[in-house]
Symmetry: C2
Subunit: 302 residues, 2 copies
């Protein structure tokens, strides 16, 4: 099964008809456009950043209907591989980003991506660690919602750990789940502070599956050493407009997940999270919702 990057949408809406139907357990490849939707090229300048049509940024490929998915299930997405383009862009977009007041002007850098390395500036290179910035399912509420704002249904979460080898669990909100993804990065830091990573198109190979009849409050990510930098991990998330509440939700979600996997008493899982798990701000620029994730080494939970 293959989905072209020409099959995109730019709002979350449960009424957008699916462009592909897959069965649980099925593997598929999805072409993903870069976050500018092709508006930027390797020859672009800061002027092109200002001239961008922001009504059409962050296109996501989909929706993909999963047979048998119903509200109250969990959609499991295994990211098997992300094959990124040979270049990427990183921009400072006026009035966007964590330090927008400090950096008001448009700015653009084009990176070369080759041999597993990203070169952001001449002589300044670091590993290419591809990840999916936006991946989510249709919300159950009627109407259009911004594709730029993450919610408990996923979307523009910008969790650096959703890379090759990662397993993402999303709550299902509507019949068929209606999965879409886009906004791939060749590299990104936790928080994506200037508002962009190494933005690039890609082909994502993945497998979708279902866990029937298990509610999930917020997405959970299981990642391997490639994406985690510091080894394999399980991460729970909190997503919303208040960083403290998102932090509490991520911690509470990880406690629940530790209990589920180990059978520990919840209070011991809480202590274990305190001494061995890490709170990360995954996304703090996609207003009005922020993403906090809490990560624990997966090998501790067996």
């Amino acid at each position: 099964m293959h989905l072209s990057s020409s099959r995109t949408h730019i709002v979350w809406d449960r009424d957008i008809p699916p462009v592909l139907r897959v069965s649980p357990g099925q593997e598929l490849t999805v072409e993903v456009a870069d976050a500018s939707g092709g508006q930027l090229t390797p020859d672009s300048t800061a002027d092109d950043v200002i001239a961008m049509d922001f009504a059409n940024v962050n296109p996501v490929s989909g929706p993909i209907a999963v047979e048998g998915a119903e509200p109250g299930d969990i959609l499991v997405v295994d990211i098997l591989d992300i094959d990124v383009d040979a270049w990427g862009w990183t921009a400072n977009i006026p009035n966007f980003g964590l330090l927008a007041d400090e950096f008001p002007d448009a700015h653009l850098r084009i990176s070369a991506i080759a041999n597993g390395t990203v070169e952001l500036l001449p002589g300044l290179s670091f590993p290419c660690v591809p990840m999916v910035g936006t991946i989510g399912v249709a919300p159950p509420e009627a109407g259009q919602a911004s594709v730029l704002v993450p919610t408990r249904w996923g979307g523009n979460m910008d969790i650096r750990h959703i890379g090759g080898g990662a397993k993402l669990m999303l709550p299902v909100g509507v019949t068929g789940a209606l999965l879409s993804l886009g906004d791939t990065h060749a590299a990104m830091g936790d928080g994506e502070v200037c508002g962009t990573g190494i933005e690039t198109g890609s082909t994502v190979t993945m497998r979708v599956d279902l866990i029937k009849g298990r509610e999930l409050k917020f997405p959970i990510v299981e990642t391997d050493a490639r994406a985690a930098r510091a080894g394999n991990a399980v991460a729970a998330t909190g997503i919303g407009p208040d960083l403290m509440q998102a932090t509490k939700d991520a911690a509470s979600g990880l406690v629940d997940e530790i209990v589920r996997r180990t059978g520990l008493a919840p209070i011991d899982a809480y202590l274990l999270a305190s001494v061995a798990a890490d709170l990360k701000i995954s996304e703090v620029v996609d207003a009005p919702n922020w993403v906090v994730s809490m990560h624990i080494e997966r090998d501790l939970l067996v």
Copy 2:
């Protein structure tokens, strides 16, 4: 030079006379009591947690006066080694911790620490990565301030990366700096969600030095692979009662530090932070102030 753990204080106050005087460049060892100040033992139970005298927790050893230190300087502390005790405690303290509503009851676990390993529960072990939870200097304002609340002068920051091999830079607020430290942990997760790590006493070997005439808004940490898990790093911090403002301060501080070390244009440093640096919630339980830190691989900045 050696400082005994009997020379402690339990509030920040610029008027507490120093118990030791050192010169810049001098190495010293400091005995640190565990955060209970000896109130808990390996035989303690949850009842002892409730019975603790909280007016006397988190004692810090000091103050240590550094010759020549003046407001507007930076105090540099190299943590050379942390030799922890053979046991530690981890408690859930009622009405304390991120999920206090969810976990209202007192709970205590005693860990054995041996051969570089911490055993929190039978069969549940992980690496011992000692760190200093509380380290700071006297604030310039008159009066007593809680030793439990971190500020821009440091204190109870609970940054997991302040371990052996780390270099900590603190702004100097008063003549002599008046450095104190305590609250060592054999292991802790970013955020210390239940409010305690593997709490243990220790002997800290360190060297103090000065950078004259350089203002620092918030502390900066430079850490090595032992403490960082994912390699060496430089981290800037933001400390205050609003997580979003602390996040902005940490990002802004890291941009400044990247510029200082590399000569990059600030806007490029901002982009680099976005694609290669990580936002971590280091402390979110020492009300009313939280600590956010932003980490970048040190090798990227040479």
